[in-house]
Symmetry: C2
Subunit: 290 residues, 2 copies
Amino acid sequence: MVDPQFKKIIIFGVGLIGGSFALALRKAHAVGEVVGFGRSETTLQQARQLGIIDRIGQDIAVEAGDADLILLATPVGQMAELMARIAPHLGAHTLVTDGGSTKSDVVAAAYAQLGSKAAQFVPAHPIAGAEQSGAAAARADLYVGKKVVLTPLPENTPEAVARVQAAWQACGANIYRLTYAEHDAVFAAVSHLPHLLSFALVHDLAQRDNRDLLLSFAASGFRDFTRIASSSPEMWRDICLANREALLRELQTYIAELNKMSAALAAGDAVQLEQTFRSARELRAGWKEQ
Amino acid sequence: MVDPQFKKIIIFGVGLIGGSFALALRKAHAVGEVVGFGRSETTLQQARQLGIIDRIGQDIAVEAGDADLILLATPVGQMAELMARIAPHLGAHTLVTDGGSTKSDVVAAAYAQLGSKAAQFVPAHPIAGAEQSGAAAARADLYVGKKVVLTPLPENTPEAVARVQAAWQACGANIYRLTYAEHDAVFAAVSHLPHLLSFALVHDLAQRDNRDLLLSFAASGFRDFTRIASSSPEMWRDICLANREALLRELQTYIAELNKMSAALAAGDAVQLEQTFRSARELRAGWKEQ
C-alpha cells in the first residue's frame, strides 16, 4: 500500500462540512490519521463512533506540529479565535484550509492571527449542501462533482496551493480559483442577496394581521421563491455580516432596479416591463446549474 | 341518463384553462354540448380533434342566446373586447365566468361592457398550472383539488353564483370566495410581487459584463428563487399592469422593508438581522401549500 497523501489531518468542527471532508479523504485512501477537535464532546464522540475521526484531540499544542493539513470547518465567526489558538503550534509543513462561505473576513482573520504563517493558509469555499447539518449528516460523497472555490493568498507558494487543491480534489470536487474579493462579490450577487430578499418577503408578510389569509393562497411560485427563507437565521446573520460590504452594494443596486420597475409600473409602461421580463427570462431559461 | 347540468356551454379560448374546463365538465357528465370560439382556427381545429369541443362556433350572435354558460379563458387583456361582443346576445339565463388571474380589471370591464347584464357575470380565478399552455396541454384533471376563487359581484343573484360555483366544483376544484379587491390584494402579495422580484434579480444580473462568471457559481438557492423568472413576459406584463395599484402598494412596502434591512446591515445590527430572519423562517417553516 502506498503512503497516503496526508499522514495526519486535523478537523476543527466535525459536522457536515468537516465530517464529509474526513470521510471523503478516507475513502480515497488519501489520509492516514484523522484527529477531531470541537466544542461539543458529544459530537466528537459521535464522529468517532461513525468512523469520521480516529481520535479526539486533547491539546492542539501537541497535535498541530506534525499535522499535514488542518481544516477549519466551524462557523466563520469562530475562525479568528481558532487561528489564534493554532498559530503558535503550526509545523513548518502544516497547511491550513477552511470551509467558510465568506472569504474576505476569513482572510482578514488569517492575516491578523496567523501573522507570518498566513502563507500556510489556503482559503476554500466548498459549495455543498446546507439543508442538513451535524456529524450524522456527513457523507463521503458530499463533495463529488461539487464546486470548491480556492481563494489563494499572494503569500501562498504554488506548492501549498497545489497540495490543498489536491485534498479537495481527492474529495471529488471540481476546483475553481477566484481572489477573495471576487469570491465575495460573486456570492453576494448569486447567493447572499437572494437569501436576504427571500427572508425579507416572508418577514414582510409575517408582520401582517391577515397573514393566514395571504398564505392560504400562496402557491408554487411562492413556495420556490421562499424556500431559502427557511434557512438558518444564525448562519445567515453571520454570512450577511461577514460579507457586509459586497452585500450592501448588491442590495443598493437591487433597490435601484426595483425603483425603476416601480416607476415603469406607475407609468403603465408596458414596453419597459415586457423588455425587463424578457431579458430576465432569456438569461434564466439559458442557465443550467453546473 | 340524467340531463346534464349545462346543456350548452361556450368556451372562448380553448387552451390549457378553457380546454381543461371543457374536458372536466365532460368527464363529470355535466355538459351537453361544448362550442369553441377563438382567434386561431388551427387551435380550434385541434381542440375539436382532441374532443375538447364539439363544434367551432361561427357566430356568437347565433350561439349565445341558448348557452347556459360562457367561459372567457383568454388573456385578461382581451376580455373587455369579448364582453362587448357577447353582451347584446346573452340569453336571459346565460351565465358568464372567466379564468383570469386578476379580478379588478375584469370586473371593471364587465361593468363597462355588459352594463345591466353584469349581474350574469360571476368572476373566477382558477389557481392552476401555467407552465404549459395550449389545447394539447388541456386535461380533465387540471382542476382536481385545486383552488378556484370566486369574486361575486353585488349584482349577482345567489342562484347565479351557486350555478357557476357548481360548474367549477364539477371540475373537481375547491371553491373560495373573496371580493375582487381582496383577491387582487392577496395575489399581489403572494404571487405578483414574488414574480416581479424574481424577474428584477435576474434582469439586474443580465445587465452585467461578468454575468457568465456570476451564473457559473449560482446554485440551488438561486435556482429556486429565480424559477419564476422564466415565466411568460407577455403574461406577466399584463398581470402587473392589470393589478397595478395593489402591486405598487406591495412593491413600495417591500422596498421599505429592504431599506430597513440595508440600514441594519450597514449598522452591523446582528440582533435585528437575526430577528428578521428568524421571524421569516418560523412563518415559512410552518407553511404548507394547500
